[in-house]
C-alpha cells in the first residue's frame, strides 16, 4: 500500500471511519430487512476506502456533494450516527428532521451539501459550490462524488467544461463500482471514463479505490493544487459494491455472479486490507483493532436503539420549510 500520512492517529482514524461506515450499513441493512426502516436504501459497503481516503484529505470547511449511495460520504465527512439513523427512520432528530431520508441526507455543519436521488444530479451543485469559493476568494475545495452510472448524464460534461474554463476548485470523484444500477458499466460506457475528463483538459487519475492510503495520497495532492486555483481534477476510483443496487436487490445473479462478489469480499476488502497493513506496520495490534471494532459496533447499536425510540416529527411539520420566510406554507 502507498504511504501518505505519517501520523499514527491519522491511520487509526481512517481505519475507524471505514469500520464506522461498514457498521452503519450493516445496521441500516438489518433495519430494512426487519421492516423497521421505511422506503429503501443503497448500501455503501465495499466502497469505504473511497469516501474515507478522500474525506480525510479535506477540511471541515471543504464541501462535498453526495449520491443516493451516500451514507459512506456522510460518515466520512464527520456526521454522527444518531442523527443519521434518526434521518433514515424519518425521525425529527434526523439531520433533515426526517424530511430527506436516506437518499437526501445532508450535514451542512460538516460541509456535506447532501445526497441526491437524481443520478448525476449534484454535479451542478458541486461545481457551483466551487464557483462560490472562487468568487468569494475562499480556499475551499469541493469534491463531487458520483458513480460510474452518472457518467452517462449530459450535465456532467456541461459542468466539467465550465469548471475547466474557469479553473474551479472542484474534484470530480467517480466511484466506479462496475455496475450502473443493474447493468455492467462496460455495457453503458464507451471508451475510457478518464478520457472524458481529459477531453476538457482536466487532469484525470485512475486509482485503486480499495486502497485507502492510495486514495488519500492522491486526494491530498489534488486538494492542495485545487486550493491554489489549479483545479479542476478528476478521479476514477475502482471499487465494488457488496450489496445490490439497493437493499431489495437480492437476487442479482442475472447481472453478476456470486463468485465475483466473493472474490472482492475475500481478496480486495478495503478494511481487511488496511487492517493487515496496520498490524504489519506495528501501528495497532490485533487486540487493539478488535477493541476498536467492538466499540464502533456498540456505538452503532446504541444509535439505532436511540433512533428507534426517537419521536417522529409532529404533523404540523409537514408544511414547514417549504419556504425560508413562511413558517407554515399552507396556513
Amino acid at each position: 500500500m502507498a504511504k501518505t500520512k505519517t501520523n499514527t492517529e491519522d491511520y487509526l482514524r481512517m481505519y475507524r471511519q471505514m469500520v464506522r461506515i461498514r457498521s452503519f450499513e450493516d445496521n441500516a441493512n438489518q433495519l430494512y430487512l426487519s421492516a423497521k426502516m421505511p422506503g429503501l436504501t443503497h448500501m455503501y459497503s465495499g466502497e469505504e476506502a473511497v469516501a474515507v481516503g478522500i474525506c480525510e484529505a479535506l477540511k471541515v470547511t471543504d464541501k462535498i456533494t453526495s449520491t443516493h449511495r451516500g451514507h459512506g460520504h456522510c460518515v466520512a465527512k464527520g456526521a454522527n450516527f444518531k442523527e443519521m439513523f434518526c434521518e433514515l427512520l424519518g425521525k425529527e432528530e434526523g439531520y433533515c428532521r426526517g424530511k430527506g431520508g436516506s437518499m437526501h441526507i445532508a450535514d451542512q455543519s460538516n460541509g456535506n451539501l447532501g445526497a441526491n436521488a437524481i443520478v448525476g444530479g449534484s454535479m451542478g451543485i458541486a461545481t457551483g459550490s466551487a464557483f462560490t469559493a472562487k468568487m468569494l476568494g475562499k480556499d475551499d475545495v469541493t469534491v463531487c462524488f458520483f458513480g460510474d452510472g452518472a457518467t452517462a448524464q449530459g450535465l456532467m460534461y456541461e459542468v466539467m467544461n465550465m469548471a475547466a474554463l474557469w479553473n474551479l476548485p472542484v474534484i470530480y470523484a467517480c466511484e466506479n463500482n462496475g455496475y450502473s444500477e443493474y447493468t455492467k458499466t462496460e455495457e453503458i460506457a464507451a471508451g475510457l471514463i478518464t478520457a472524458r475528463a481529459e477531453a476538457f483538459g482536466i487532469e484525470a487519475h485512475q486509482v485503486d479505490g480499495q486502497d485507502v492510503l492510495a486514495v488519500n495520497e492522491l486526494t491530498q495532492d489534488l486538494v492542495a493544487r485545487a486550493r491554489k486555483g489549479k483545479g479542476p481534477f478528476f478521479m476514477e476510483l475502482m471499487t465494488y459494491r457488496y450489496h445490490g443496487h439497493h437493499v431489495g436487490d437480492i437476487n442479482r445473479e442475472y447481472y453478476r455472479s456470486k463468485n465475483e462478489e466473493k472474490d472482492w469480499k475475500e481478496n480486495r476488502d478495503p478494511i481487511i486490507k488496511f487492517r493487515g497493513w496496520l498490524v504489519e506496520q506495528g501501528i495497532a495490534s490485533e487486540d487493539e483493532i478488535e477493541a476498536m471494532n467492538a466499540e464502533v459496533k456498540k456505538d452503532a447499536e446504541e444509535a439505532v436503539a436511540y433512533a428507534e425510540a426517537a419521536p417522529y416529527p409532529g404533523q404540523a411539520e409537514v408544511d414547514m420549510h417549504v419556504f425560508t420566510d413562511v413558517k407554515h406554507a399552507l396556513a
Binding site: K63, T65, G94, Y95, C96, R97, G98, K99, G100, H104, A106, Q108, L113, G114, N116, I118, G121, S122, M123, G124, I125, A126, T127, G128, S129, A130, F131, T132, A133, M135, L136, T142, G154, L155, E158, V159, N161, M162, L165, M320, H321, V322, F323, T324, D325, V326, A329
Partner: protein
C-alpha cells in the same frame, strides 16, 4: 401596446421618470449588485452582448466578467451551478435566454433548487433568481414563444413573479434578489421597450400583494403580465358601454394574494381570469378554482378562464395572433357575463 398609468397611486407621479421595462430590470440588477457583492449574473451572452434583448447592456462594464458571467450554451449546467453557488453563500441571477428553455433545466430548478430547503429540514437554502421571459406574437414560432410559468408555479418551493410594467419589473426584481428562496421571474419579451413611470429613489414591491390597477364595480378582470394591458384596454372599451370593470394584477402568482382577488370577486360578482399561458391546467384555472371555492355564493356568473389556445404557438402571423387573448375578446366575454348569457353555459 399602450400602458395605463393613471391609477398608479404611489409614489407620487412627480417623483417618477419614464423608463423602459428593459432599463428597469437593468437598474434593479445594478442597484442590487452594488448593494450586495455576492450577487452575480450568469447565463448565455449576458456580458458584452448584454443578452439578445440588450437588457443587461452596460453591466459587465461596471461589474466585470467575474460577476456577469458568460456561459457555454449549457442551460442545465449553469442552472445547476447556480443552485450550488446559492447553497454556499452567493446570490446568482440566472439568465435563461428564452422561457421555452425551462424544459432543459427542470431537474435543476424543480428537483434541486425548489426542494433544497425542505429536504434539508430547513438547514440549507438556494437563494437564486431565474430571470426568463414569456409571450407570443413575436413571430418566433413554437419553441421561442411559450409562456410556461404554470409549470414552475406548480412546484412547491418556488416563488413566481410576473411583472406587468417597468415599475413592477424593477420592484419585483429587487425583492426577488433579496429573497432567500428560489424565485422565477417571467418578463414579457414584447414589453422590453414599453415605458412606464418608475421612481428615481429606491423601492421594492413585496411579493404576494396584488395591485388594483383600475377600480370598478361590475366585473373583475384578473390579469398577469402583458394581459394587464389587454384587460385595461378591455376595461376602456367596456366603460364606453357603461360596464365598470375592475382590473387586478396579482404581480406574483406564488405567493398569490388570494385575499384581494376574493374580495374583488365578492364585490363585483363576476370574474374573468386572463393569462398568456395555455388555458388548460393553467393559472387561469387555478385562480378560477380558488374564487369558486371561496366566493361561490357571491358570484352571479361562472368564473371565466381566458388563456392562450391549447396549441403549439404557430409561426404565421395570421395564426399566431388569434392564439392569445385580446382586449376585444375579453370585452366580448365580459358583455356575455353581464348579460347573463353564460350563466347556464355549462
Amino acid at each position: 401596446m399602450s400602458l395605463q398609468t393613471s391609477n398608479m397611486r404611489w409614489p407620487e407621479e412627480e417623483d417618477m421618470r419614464e423608463i423602459t421595462l428593459s432599463q428597469a430590470v437593468n437598474e434593479a440588477l445594478a442597484e442590487e449588485m452594488r448593494r450586495d457583492e455576492t450577487v452575480f449574473i450568469i447565463g448565455e451572452d449576458v456580458a458584452e452582448a448584454g443578452t439578445p434583448f440588450k437588457v443587461l447592456s452596460g453591466l459587465v462594464e461596471e461589474f466585470g466578467t467575474e460577476r456577469v458571467v458568460d456561459t457555454p450554451i449549457s442551460e442545465p449546467g449553469f442552472m445547476g451551478l447556480a443552485v450550488g453557488a446559492a447553497m454556499t453563500g452567493t446570490r446568482p441571477v440566472v439568465d435563461l435566454m428564452f422561457g421555452d428553455f425551462i424544459y432543459l433545466i427542470m431537474d435543476q430548478l424543480c428537483n434541486q433548487a425548489a426542494k433544497t430547503h425542505y429536504m434539508s429540514g430547513g438547514k440549507m437554502s438556494a437563494p437564486l433568481v431565474l430571470r426568463t421571459n414569456m409571450g407570443a406574437t413575436r413571430r418566433s414560432a413554437a419553441q421561442h414563444s411559450q409562456s410556461l410559468h404554470a409549470l414552475v408555479a406548480h412546484i412547491p418551493g418556488l416563488k413566481v413573479a410576473m411583472p406587468s410594467s417597468a415599475y413592477e419589473a424593477k420592484g419585483l426584481m429587487k425583492t426577488a434578489i433579496r429573497d432567500n428562496n428560489p424565485v422565477v421571474i417571467f418578463e414579457d419579451k414584447l414589453m422590453y421597450n414599453d415605458k412606464a413611470p418608475v421612481p428615481e429613489e429606491e423601492f421594492l414591491i413585496p411579493f404576494g400583494e396584488a395591485n388594483i390597477k383600475r377600480e370598478g364595480s361590475d366585473i373583475t378582470l384578473i390579469a398577469t403580465s402583458s394581459m394587464v394591458q389587454v384587460c385595461e384596454a378591455a376595461a376602456e372599451i367596456l366603460a364606453k358601454e357603461g360596464i365598470d370593470a375592475e382590473v387586478i394584477d396579482p404581480r406574483t402568482i406564488v405567493p398569490l394574494d388570494e385575499e384581494t382577488l376574493i374580495a374583488s370577486a365578492k364585490k363585483t360578482s363576476r370574474v374573468i381570469v386572463v393569462d398568456e399561458g395555455h388555458q388548460s391546467y393553467g393559472i387561469t384555472g387555478e385562480i378560477a378554482g380558488r374564487i369558486n371555492e371561496k366566493a361561490f355564493y357571491h358570484l352571479d356568473a361562472p368564473v371565466l378562464r381566458m388563456g392562450a389556445m391549447d396549441v403549439p404557438v404557430p409561426f404565421s402571423p395570421a395564426l399566431e395572433d388569434i392564439t392569445v387573448p385580446t382586449p376585444e375578446a375579453v370585452a366580448e366575454n365580459a358583455r356575455k357575463l353581464m348579460s347573463g348569457e353564460m350563466i347556464h353555459a355549462a
